[in-house]
């Protein structure tokens, strides 16, 4: 019962944060609402007993990705006067709703096709220990390939950023 209340509370916070992200005029306010969404998503992951994903959501998304977004906002340094006067705001909003509507329909279809009975979770589902054990025994090769992927991303970032003459 408590889990249901928590789910609705966190879902409401996530939706409110997402609304703030698109409705706030100043980018910094939008970014801060996005943090609310990311953190409440972490809470939802915890409700799904995905404890490792909960930690990763907080460390990587609410931490590192958010700092990237804030850095972009600080580089561009958008002032109130730089923002365009979007008089067609409601027109664009309606267009966006039309584009997203099929996805929402698909989501409702998925939600309706979910099984009624709750399947029993295996012991230690989503635990940091269980996932770690699986990752480092069965999924060893993908794990090592991840390090090469990260290396490629690192070199790519340095090469691409150096191109413009960082001085």
């Amino acid at each position: 019962m408590l889990a249901t209340y928590l789910f609705f509370g966190l879902a409401l916070l996530a939706v409110l944060g997402a609304l703030g992200l698109i409705l706030f005029k100043h980018p910094m306010n939008g970014a801060m609402s996005f943090v609310v969404t990311l953190i409440s998503l972490a809470g939802l992951y915890a409700l799904l007993s995905a404890k490792l994903i909960f930690a990763i959501q907080l460390i990587v998304y609410a931490g590192a990705i958010m700092s990237l977004i804030l850095f972009i906002i600080m580089f561009l340094n958008i002032q109130e006067r730089d923002l365009p006067i979007d008089s067609n705001r409601w027109f664009y909003l309606a267009g966006g709703i039309i584009v997203v509507a099929p996805i929402a329909g698909l989501m409702i279809k998925i939600a309706k096709s979910l099984p009624e009975e709750h399947p029993e979770l295996i012991d230690g589902f989503g635990d940091v220990k269980t996932v770690g054990h699986l990752l480092f025994t069965e999924w060893l090769l993908p794990f090592e390939i991840v390090s090469i992927l990260l290396l490629v991303a690192l070199v790519g970032a340095v090469v691409l950023a150096g191109k413009r003459g960082v001085n």
Binding site: L10, I39, A55, L135, F136, A161
Partner: protein, 119 residues
Amino acid sequence: MSAELVLSGAVFIGLALAIPTIMVLTAVFGPRSGGEAKNAPYESGITQVVGMADQKFSVKFYLLAILFLIFDIEAVFMYPWAVSLRELGVFGFIEMVVFILLLLTGLIYILKKGVLNWR
């Protein structure tokens, strides 16, 4: 109470109750003072303000943020590894050494490239 409920409950209480409460309390109880002297950037000495506080940052900082993200993901992989290290034994240790050595070459690369040099 299970760990799931504790974790998500802590997130909910923090987001929906604790942070707004702290913000409201600071707004209510915080001391307020105004005046020209208080709002001046410096009390004395510098009379001419140069530029604005919210100036643009060098793109160089952005590269640092990307590099931080990459090493952050590396650190995330160490979390499940550290928790199940006892079961994995020496084999698991060697796995992580290979992983870190591969990323260490990346660190050496950015050091040689002089990305971390400030001037």
